[in-house]
């Protein structure tokens, strides 16, 4: 699973029928440290155009700029509403906070 931030949406009219009615969101992966520091110091800035990204199917009604949980690969199909859909990434949670226990603190 990955932590990621929702940065956009994709609209496609002509698509596999199993994708109809599904919300397709663009997410950029984040490290746990980025999420942890963002919650204390405000949201990170907008991603650059060259940022790594994925198009994922939303199963939890996530919104723009929210931090989310992503599953990739065939596991993405195990999420409810994604059963037997041709997807390789899905959003399965909205992240409230991340805390990292570090030894040197």
């Amino acid at each position: 699973m990955l932590l990621a931030k929702v940065v956009g949406t994709v609209v496609a009219t002509r698509k596999d029928s199993r994708l109809e009615g599904k919300k397709l969101l663009i997410v950029t992966p984040l490290t746990p440290e980025q999420v942890e520091s963002a919650s204390s110091a405000g949201a990170p800035g907008p991603p650059s155009g060259k940022a790594n990204y994925l198009v994922a199917v939303d199963t939890v009604d996530a919104g723009f700029r929210e931090t989310v949980l992503i599953v990739q690969g065939s596991s993405a199909r195990m999420a409810t509403t994604c059963k037997d859909c041709p997807v390789d990434a899905s959003i399965v949670g909205v992240v409230d906070s991340v805390t990292i226990e570090s030894e040197d603190r």
Partner: protein, 97 residues
């Protein structure tokens, strides 16, 4: 899924029987700003996409196989959608790569 642009197709006479009758598209993956992202990939067509189209490419085997209707076939990528528009949260205008 990836966002990519179809830049061509390829012809192969001798190939996996499960690839017969499906277009093999050459897809250039794109960055969010529309620039090229890495190397071209090959994907089977499931939505009758053509050169110049901006598309969604699924990169997981089962999804790709079932999208083109070929079970248990050596297919790792398929074009499953033609993109109308992309909207980014931190930009007012839609990007048009």
């Amino acid at each position: 899924m990836l966002i990519g642009r179809i830049v061509g197709d390829l012809v192969a006479t001798q190939k996996a029987p499960s690839h017969e009758g499906r277009k093999i598209l050459v897809v250039q993956p794109l960055n969010l700003d529309g620039s090229n992202r890495g190397d071209e990939v090959l994907a089977l067509d499931a939505v009758d996409a053509g050169v110049g189209d901006r598309v969604l490419v699924v990169t997981e085997g089962w999804g790709a196989m079932t999208a083109v209707g070929r079970q248990n076939a050596p297919i790792d990528m398929a074009v499953v959608g033609v993109i109308d528009s992309v909207a980014l949260a931190d930009q007012h205008s839609e990007h048009a790569p």
